[in-house]
Amino acid sequence: MRRYLLIILVIFLAVITYGTAFFIKKERSFDENVRLKQENEELKAQIQKLEIGNWKLEIPREGFLTAKVFSTYPFNIKNKLTINAGEKQGIKKLSVAVLEKNILVGQVVEVFENYSIVKTTFDPNWQLPVRIGEEEINGFFQGGGEPKVILIDKDKPLRLGDVVYSASQEFFYGLKIGELNELRETGAGIFKEAVLKVPFNVNELREVQIIK
């Protein structure tokens, strides 16, 4: 009897977990400090944009759709998040997700009727061409738990704190990805690489803007 009860319970839980949209919301209260920190990062990104001075493109306000981020990704990998907007709300695969207006968070990889999945810059399989600082030095962004820029010409002058921004055709030019946080020489000695400081914490994201 006890055994059958356990079997029924296991089946019941498995059906709910894998066969339905039910999930337990585990929303923590949104800290005011976190909001201010995110606003601060956006203002910093805007200043860096002005300093470089060649980013002509401004995305019109109506080109953005605000979407809420579903609870916290419970693993260290933090490579994706789910948002509460999908096909019905006009989200398309490969749409770009940003924080405020200028900070690249990720890219939509799957779209459902009312939800979408966004791959973040922490995804280890994400690579894209980037530029660094006022000198517009070329590099290659490599996502992961410790996002970094690789294949940087070793003779180019780099400073800690230099801004790294998107330069891929897939994205809007000049979306901030992070800042140089640590510089390293690679084994071969031809290139340098730099570890990035990403201006947001995936766990602290409560909403993102999707560029339609």
Binding site: L6, A14, F23
Partner: protein
């Protein structure tokens, strides 16, 4: 006598459900140590496997943890992999030759490795993986000790 044994079994299962549920919630709410999120649910489930009285209890613990960890309304491969690793550990557990304590640590290490292998193999070479592995083994040791202590005090 059978009645008492049944009550003991249910009480033990209830305690394990409580433990797995609490740790899964802690993980889902973003519990971290020095920025590293240990896979608390996986550690609790595997340590719990050594204190269950039937195979189906192990399935139940895994299913509860998976439901609590589910973080959005869509199908999540991470949760499926979590469940499959749990079930795999439940089977492999019976074939390990060492003492239960070592078996549990071995299984926790193997489970963390397998989880990364499926979800982010590139991160296996990173410090994140090593830190998580070390933290998981420490927490696994503590949890196993706690569960052993509770069992000894009840019997």
């Amino acid at each position: 006598m059978n009645y008492e044994l049944g009550i003991m079994k249910n009480l033990r299962l209830f305690s394990l459900i409580l433990l797995v549920g609490t740790l899964s919630f802690a993980q889902a709410l973003g519990f971290s140590v020095f920025g590293i999120k240990p896979n608390l649910a996986l550690i609790a489930v595997i340590a719990g496997f050594f204190f269950i009285s039937s195979f189906w209890e192990g399935f139940l613990l895994t299913a509860i943890a998976a439901l609590i960890l589910k973080f959005s309304p869509v199908f999540e491969p991470e949760i499926l992999i979590f469940s499959l690793i749990g079930v795999g550990a439940l089977i492999v557990k019976n074939y390990l030759p060492w003492r239960n304590f070592l078996n549990s640590l071995f299984l926790i290490g193997l489970a963390v490795f397998t989880f990364y292998l499926f979800l982010a193999p590139k991160l296996i070479y990173s410090f994140i993986f090593l830190k998580e592995l070390a933290l998981s083994l420490i927490l696994g040791t503590l949890l196993f000790a706690l569960l052993s202590f509770l069992r000894q005090n009840k019997t």
